[in-house]
Symmetry: D2
Subunit: 336 residues, 4 copies
Amino acid sequence: MKEMILGVIGCGRIGQMHVENLIKCFPNVRIRLVCDTAPDLEWALKWKIPITDNLDQLLDCKEIEAVLIAAPSTYHIDLIKRVAAVGKHIFCEKPLAFDLDSIQEAVEAVETAGIKFQVGFNRRFDNDYKSIRDRVAAGVVGKPYVVKITNRGPVHPGLDFITNSGGMFMDKAVHDFDMAQYVTGQKVVEVFTHAGCLSNPEFAETGDVDTIMTSLRLSDGTLCNTDCARVTNYGYDQRLEIFGEKGMIKTRNIGETNITMNVPGVGLVADNPKWGFAERYFDAFVEQMKAFIAYLSNDDMKSPVDGYAAKSAVAVAVAARKSFQEKRSVKVSEVL
Amino acid sequence: MKEMILGVIGCGRIGQMHVENLIKCFPNVRIRLVCDTAPDLEWALKWKIPITDNLDQLLDCKEIEAVLIAAPSTYHIDLIKRVAAVGKHIFCEKPLAFDLDSIQEAVEAVETAGIKFQVGFNRRFDNDYKSIRDRVAAGVVGKPYVVKITNRGPVHPGLDFITNSGGMFMDKAVHDFDMAQYVTGQKVVEVFTHAGCLSNPEFAETGDVDTIMTSLRLSDGTLCNTDCARVTNYGYDQRLEIFGEKGMIKTRNIGETNITMNVPGVGLVADNPKWGFAERYFDAFVEQMKAFIAYLSNDDMKSPVDGYAAKSAVAVAVAARKSFQEKRSVKVSEVL
Amino acid sequence: MKEMILGVIGCGRIGQMHVENLIKCFPNVRIRLVCDTAPDLEWALKWKIPITDNLDQLLDCKEIEAVLIAAPSTYHIDLIKRVAAVGKHIFCEKPLAFDLDSIQEAVEAVETAGIKFQVGFNRRFDNDYKSIRDRVAAGVVGKPYVVKITNRGPVHPGLDFITNSGGMFMDKAVHDFDMAQYVTGQKVVEVFTHAGCLSNPEFAETGDVDTIMTSLRLSDGTLCNTDCARVTNYGYDQRLEIFGEKGMIKTRNIGETNITMNVPGVGLVADNPKWGFAERYFDAFVEQMKAFIAYLSNDDMKSPVDGYAAKSAVAVAVAARKSFQEKRSVKVSEVL
Amino acid sequence: MKEMILGVIGCGRIGQMHVENLIKCFPNVRIRLVCDTAPDLEWALKWKIPITDNLDQLLDCKEIEAVLIAAPSTYHIDLIKRVAAVGKHIFCEKPLAFDLDSIQEAVEAVETAGIKFQVGFNRRFDNDYKSIRDRVAAGVVGKPYVVKITNRGPVHPGLDFITNSGGMFMDKAVHDFDMAQYVTGQKVVEVFTHAGCLSNPEFAETGDVDTIMTSLRLSDGTLCNTDCARVTNYGYDQRLEIFGEKGMIKTRNIGETNITMNVPGVGLVADNPKWGFAERYFDAFVEQMKAFIAYLSNDDMKSPVDGYAAKSAVAVAVAARKSFQEKRSVKVSEVL
């Protein structure tokens, strides 16, 4: 295998996780340069990676074949355009942007440049979700009737985070909308939303919510419910269920161990779900990188998650938010 | 314990089940007379119960203290009025009627007569649901955020049944609406419905549906999703989940046995859910009768399920159907 | 159905449970007379049952067709002989006796009298165990290789009980030996025992043990392990596993509910096993009585659990105890 | 982290697995040379590893700091002596040998040479087993009463394998004996064995068995049962249960996914256990290497699994085989 040389833009929590996974799991990948506005020198030293706050240095580096963009979402579009302009391939974290026009611009920049482009919907690379999707595609469930998706985080990410996140529809529920489309191969046609600040009423003034429930109608008539919440206190509750013509398939949560204990006076105690996204989707993040590297290495492959898929998921998020704001059912076609 | 003497009006599938449970499980209860328009003599002989097609004979029988009404739903209101008029206590199967005015008439007839009155929402008496409700009431879950209810039957009941059932909203989804209110102690305020003929498109012409998904907003802001379907082919899928401030509580399906088998080439196979409502809710039907008999025996008890509860659940069903027909979110207050 | 008139000898915890089950679940059975050396008048009044301390009164009562013997085990043989002598059918609790000669005497008395006779191995009537046995008999598991049986009680029954119980081999482990033979249709050929006073060292001076592990060889070569303990503190742990040519089948414990809760900081908590034998085997005790009544009512039926089965299980218990005492593997043929 | 340079002796199935894991998961480890009597050139080329059939070349290579021995078990002792003689550290697959004297010789050679030495009991590094052991050590279970270990392989490894494996006691059951000691921190004092050729009677003439059940007494009185089988056809069934003073802790099997499906007419189907040891213990094999590399890198660490632990497990295996052959309980002290 030939060596693959990458650059990374944005190296906060997610960026560092990607870099560490690449170092630990991909002997043939070399991180040539990391660029961050506030470079974490200690971390870079520990992992022996060159780091800079000068984006041009990275863009000008001929060796770098592809770039991971893990900067805050508000910078994604501009960064995509700049990286595309120098002809480097791109992996960009989701969401690309919070509005559809910006995403369209990015998609066009990518196409104009003729580069490879993958968006970070990590859950598609989770073994359980991928396996369900493959079985659905193979007809194991028959025609789907009902899809139910649960996506609940362990603790509130805090005021700082949510003010820059695009809000819960863009940041968190967008995963569910992508999943609904990915797992069924259908498109969301219409969405109705109930939502509120249930766990953290003090965040209501931010205009954001902490609990979202949507009712989706998909293109083949399949009915879908998603429930998405910021705070469980019991871990990262991630489940999916599809009921169809030939039965009902579902995933369960995954704990740190497969141990149970009968505790006198308490009950039969198993592990709660793994705590956060980094623990729960560790393998999925690695598989996502594998898919990106395979895509880079193989000119016959299509993007595992292209810009249109990303735009489509964000479109549902925009419609879902509109439904919440206008207290009515919204067709996705209204927002495109 | 003194003997309790009952009459039964309507003795089809549900009526026979009640009678058989009473005979098998309640030594102190005597079924004095069963009345049916088409008396099943063979069945009556087997169980040694007097049977008649003459309703007056039952209404005139002084010995009979209380009457079970298990006739088709369209006759419920008229029968309640007639039984109330002769001062006998009443247990009536759900739904009382398909419209709210009729239910109100029945409730008033009962109050005027001063009789005891219980409606047949059997699921409230299921050990698992009752236990969840008790824990929620005791604050174990803290403030509820999200409730999810699954209610799927094994096979389509057939054209004959559905044309007389009041439709799926009245006949089947009404259980979910009652459950949402029962288990949280809240009221449904608003409902949005997606529905369709997904498993049996040929029934579309009846105007009824076979799959319903509702999104409910409850009085304290709790978000609730129900999914209700006619046909699983894998059994009677009955689940409930409540996620709240202090954790997430849920029930699982119950099979005929607690056995699993690792089958080579197949997997780890456990039982599917019990097949139909009679198997799944056998114990709940018996507990429901226990509650009725305790209520009859004790003048200090309130009705376990009174007419207002029944009316309230039907009101949500009416609103849910209206939401489906008008493709918009409907407030329950609109239909009351 | 014609009425079945029974008498009961011995009305402590087990006897009262049988009587109450019969009253609650068998409308056609009448308990004509209960005989106990220390009659519990309050209990008898509550259940409206004639009670006496005069055994002859019961034996002389012509109406009584069959007798339940639930007296202490040390009286079983004598009582069987006396009841057999007056030609009444018998249901007798296990163990019949602690030595094989006495059991043989009882078996002969029953045969001489030509009466019906059933011994109380209640676990055979448990739905899960019975279903496993039926599947094994039907070849679902193929040739069995390994059987594992777990039989652990919740709390120590106390010094009083164990001094009259015949010891743990006779009182508790005997169920496992019967189960090993029942579920496979094979006979135990050889047994090796490890045992000790692990949970309650202070009972060591009684000569009894509180934890037993046996390794059994069955007639077809199947290997079987049983573990039996007095004290779990977490409930009545009752499990069975059979691994064979075509897979592995097993039962799980049963809790009071089928509810789980994700509790923050604790885990995913399900119910511990039901607490005691009366809760765990409630249905099995009822089914056992059903089987006895069906056997009484039908002259073509064989005894559901005859004296030879009882003797066979006790023979294994005698061999297991001998193995423990002599620290060597013991063939069951040595003790017969 | 400084680079760690390793050599490998013996590169069949297990050896190749170790090498591949090292390459994929340990960027700082370099495999300098692989030595095999029949070098697999194609495999070596694929993984870009120098390979030779000349052992001296490996022993003479100054760069190599430590050697993995994964040759057939019959060569282990000789290879350990030769590698120890040149002062390189050693990781050796289990079992070291089939007799205790040879193991003692190896242990002494290691001590004389003053090298680091770790034996390959991979299961100790499994997350579930390790976590149970940690909890037991922390007193979570209190005093253990009963330990049950299940160790069943998916398919018979074939006549070739078993004739060179040392037999099932040495090759497979030895894992259980190590686990019983590891998880409790106790020693096996006494063992009784039942065994036979149950799944593959045609292998009886090899003198080996395919199903083993042992009853072990541990040093603190804990009772332990192991059942070990060659052929399940449903996967690699690996379970452990400890019942003690404060409750009962156990592991469950792990499937390829966490998906279940309600299949009409079949049941609720989950995954069978992962198929073979390489799938089931993939993570444990990686963790085992991590522990070896940490041990190499840190002169204050003790061996994660030293020669005495290996000898102790083999001693139990020798005693267990003797018990089977002599049909009696055998004390481990008899064979030491």
